[in-house]
Symmetry: C2
Subunit: 245 residues, 2 copies
């Protein structure tokens, strides 16, 4: 397991937060890791906060201090995934300038990071598919993990040699993130070994996404991108308003 | 309730099937309607085939003769929705030639037809989100309802005054259907009164879809449409192979 503190240090989206005391951070990590293990062993629905506290050797009150509900533990899981991805994706961000390569490698890196959690991801998803659930990647509660992910997509795009229309600069990383969420949806139900099908999906879609982004510079297409983004802002307001709010 | 026999008569996708005897069709309809009522009253998970048979006044064996599992009842529900949409959409297909209007009105008609079933749609969806579930709209089991829906989208498109590239003729209705499935996903979780949010989503997206289709004629964009379709064929083979199989 990676050291969560180091991971957070490397995460720009959280850089403005005050540093937590190492001791409380350790307790928080212990509770989160215990919860993830129990979710995996017993299932999400059957694991209680009481059982998590007991297994982690902390009081129930202490567990609730760090995570006020099981849903918050899932948020903690999203944050951890985002933080692990942030670290793992650094070589990709510093590497090849080709946009298709960057999109492909950043998403493959995400699949690597997420793989250990795959067995129980489908369980969460049953709840997360509801956009009003706090577990939804589109919810207000998921804002930290989402901003972190969108920031990665922004760096994938603006570190590439693909030119984009300035008026679309804010929107394109949001749309790339939405594509990422489509991949997550596919991945959750992927039963192939080592989620190979999801990897293949990334290989196939990355060049298409890169091409679509390159084409979005054309004057005839720009209004289309803007309209799609407007619709997303209206219908997934939590997800799209992060950078504008 | 509409007369199911009439509805089937009006449904081109089923025109090749031998006509069923009215009596057995009546029994089938009775069982399906009873099941839908019980799903609504008691929940899908809690309703047994035995309870459905009892409530419908038929033997359990008879119920299983028509629907070999609860999943098949859900397929029956999809088929009914598709058949009701086929009837309700006729004025739209015969009406305005403007593609944005046709897309909008055909989807609004679907929302009208589906509205009575909205309260329990979310229940099904928990299972239907898994592409390997027989309840998934992408499954082999859902082929009849899917082909019927795609055929409606084809008529929406080709009855319009928008010109399309011949090489994309087969693909575009599939992509329109995929957009329709996106709407269904949004609708399932829509808690606004009379699913007004879903209606608004249709109003907003129909002009964008129509514009995207019109632009797909451009030589520079055609490869993109083709590639998207190829990816869908590879990754949702059940859903995309219907017309080519």
């Amino acid at each position: 397991m990676k050291d969560v503190k180091d991971v957070n240090d490397a995460k720009p989206a959280e850089a403005h937060k005050p540093a937590k005391a190492p001791k409380s951070e350790q307790t928080r990590t212990l509770i989160l890791e215990t919860a993830l293990r129990l979710f995996q062993e017993r299932g999400y629905d059957k694991t209680t906060m009481r059982a998590i506290a007991q297994e982690a050797g902390v009081s129930v009150g202490n567990a609730y201090y760090y995570f006020s509900s099981k849903e918050h533990l899932v948020q903690g899981f999203y944050d951890r995934l985002a933080a692990e991805h942030e670290v793992a994706v650094q070589p990709v961000l510093a590497g090849d300038k080709d946009l298709a390569v960057r999109i492909r490698d950043s998403l493959l890196t995400w699949l690597d990071v997420a793989e250990p959690y795959h067995p129980f991801a489908a369980q969460f998803f049953k709840n997360a598919a509801d956009p009003e659930s706090p577990l939804s990647p589109f919810s207000a509660e998921s804002v930290a993990a989402r901003e972190s992910a969108i920031s990665i997509h922004a760096r994938v795009l603006f570190g590439s040699d693909t030119k984009t229309a300035p008026e679309l600069a804010e929107m394109l990383p949001h749309l790339m993130w939405l594509m990422h969420m489509g991949l997550v949806l596919y991945w959750v139900y992927d039963r192939s070994e080592h989620t190979e099908r999801s990897r293949r999906l990334v290989e196939r879609t990355a060049p298409i996404a890169a091409r679509a982004i390159a084409l979005s510079r054309y004057r005839v297409l720009r209004p289309l991108v803007r309209q799609v983004h407007e619709v997303l802002e209206e219908f997934l307001p939590g997800a799209m308003a992060t950078k504008r709010g």
